[in-house]
Amino acid sequence: MRKLVLLLSAAWLMTAFAGCSEKEMNPVGFNLVDHEGHWQVHQAVIREILADSCIAISTGAGKGFYLLVGSWKGQEARSLLFFEDLPDSLELSLTGAKLILNAYSESNEDSILISAHALQTGWNDSTVTWEYPWGEAGGDFETEPIAQGSYAIIKGSQMQLDFTAAGLELVEDWLEGQLNNGLLLKTVDPAGDNLKYFYSTNTPFDPELELTFATSDTSDTTISVDSDRDAFIAQPGEPVTGDLLCVSDGVVHRSWIHFDTSAIPDSAFINHAILSLSISEFNSPLDKMTVGAYLVTEMETLTFSSSYSGTASLNSDKNLMEINVASLAQSWADGTLNAGIMLKIYSEYSDLSRALFYTSTSAPDSTHLPTLTVTYTTPPRGKLACHTRGGQVP
């Protein structure tokens, strides 16, 4: 009897341990809980556009990460530098000065001859453009260069522009407290494709002015001064012709597009939302561009959110831009007024790139139409709750 009891107990324990294997995929029973009542996933392909426009922005390029010098496809960029906190070393004799710029390692390898010029007009990095505040477009500067250097990019390298005698005289004037409007850097050969990128004051590798003072007949000392503000100004590119949407940096353009999203029901949960724009033209010196989609919060002023909903990376191989705007579409489903989507280059003051997109009126065919494809789920019809009856769950 004892053996029988032990045998049965052992058999039961083995059954309990080994037999408890759930078949994970068990679709049996969906019908019992109302298969159709499990929420439904829908997809809306929206091509109905209420409004769109390409907007030119005329603000300064002082917030970018790079200073651009040179030309690309006929569009020239110049950089402005201002050194304010100069040393009080009037009793010492200035024997040398050079400007040191740190190159952005992804620049192209074409050589460039860069000259530095004293600016005649004061400027503000948040407002300065190719035209403003100059008497002459491209900046009011002394024609005689105060420093000049030939530069061919070597990854991670620095560029040094040694000041001429006129340059040293200018710096001495600054040290004496005379008018200081800063420097302008430009290419000597604006006809070539020789655009170069240098890190700006908004990065840890900001430009420096290195000053050398003689402390005696045989010794000297060197003082480095960081740039206090800088910016680059870019010559306006070719105007956008035709009904196209546009994003660009350097000379900044943004685009606003307003889809009719009335097909998306309130309280829907957005699983996925893709904005697709067919690319008409893409130009980028570095063959890359990151475009962000932002929630427009006010239609009259086209104020938009500070953070993007999604981004898309473009290059010359792509002919379609797709941005995930799920969080943006969710805002609309949650009750936020749909005032459209603002498209802009994520960092607008760091390059001379531009992308043009077809609109609903300029698209050559239906495959090039701007499209917002939203995959969404509607709430279950019934509640999955222990008190409900069979057919209403869930």
Partner: protein, 401 residues
Amino acid sequence: MKHLSLNRAVLLIFFFLLAASAAQAGSIFSGNGLGEVVYAADARLRSMGGAGLALTRGLSGSLVNPALMGGLKVTALTVSSRPEALYVKDAQQENVLTSARIDNFALYLPLGKQFALSLDLRQQSDCRFKAYQITTVFDKVYTKAITRTGGTTLASVNLARRFGSSLYVGIRAGYVFGKLNQGLTGDFFDDDYLDTSVHSGIENTGSQLCAGLALKISRQFSVGAIFIPAYEVKQTETQYSSFSSATTVKRTLTNPLTFGFGLACYPSPKFLGQIDVTVSKWSNFKIDGQVAPGYTDVIRVAAGCEYRALKEGSASCFRKIPLRFGYTLEPWYLKTDDGEKIHGHFLTMGIGLPFGQQGAHLDASLELGMRGDISSVGAEEKIVRGTISIWGFERWFQRKK
């Protein structure tokens, strides 16, 4: 293992608990309503179809009728566990699910003067519905799932007294508690797509009373009855949803009154037969005072018998082993949307294995059942359910001679 002391019984209980901790999917019908209502009984009763309202032989009947522990003289402890396998099927799919669970645990204490007290912990309702389906949505692989797990447990104190040698009266006061977790999910295989989900946690608390009565009419017959008045269970549901912010809803469920009658017959020391009829008025099930639609009264009929050879000349082993058989008609308390009732039928059988010298025994039962019907209900499940129970006895508070 000459004696199954309480210490050894406790060790066995740990084994039971360990084994049952791997509980898996249960009835596919537990996707609705309150889940599966668990009929707490030991293997002896289950092998007799679950009948026991009038069973005055042994303590098993006290699990369904608290009066039947009146007159207890020794301390007793029992635990039951139910491994089961379900072959489930609907019009499109079929599957096999297995599970194990602890049905009940009870400690009995004699109080003297024919009084007895017991502490009882039993599963009351059980949700273990898990349904997954892989499909495609707009050319994306998509898995939708419905899960319901958890349930409620009844912790109770039972007090009973035997008057004379034939009248048993008892009462059970219990606290209902437990959490039900349920969720709907829709998962895209593509990580670029956000998954949809609604998850709820439902806390249940309430109290339940049960009164029991049994009477030995003669040496051959006894009758028994129970009455459970309608009782309230408070629910607090907290829901986290993709469609809205977290919400909390409180509601009150009014569970139905239940009453039952049983008749036991002992024509000889070798044989006993019994039949129970229990009625639960689920049609009066209410949510916040409103009668919930779709619920239907449940009339549960259980009948069974027990036979002991007790025959001189038989092998000693088989002479001691009782053989049991039974049948249960156990309808589901919810109807389908079309008003179809969900029926359940079980054929039961089992044996008892006495061991030790103080009346300890291990009972085993096997139930073969079928619930639902594809043509009328949409699904069916064939159930193979085992129950293992251990009873241990020991004299407490009494000086051993």
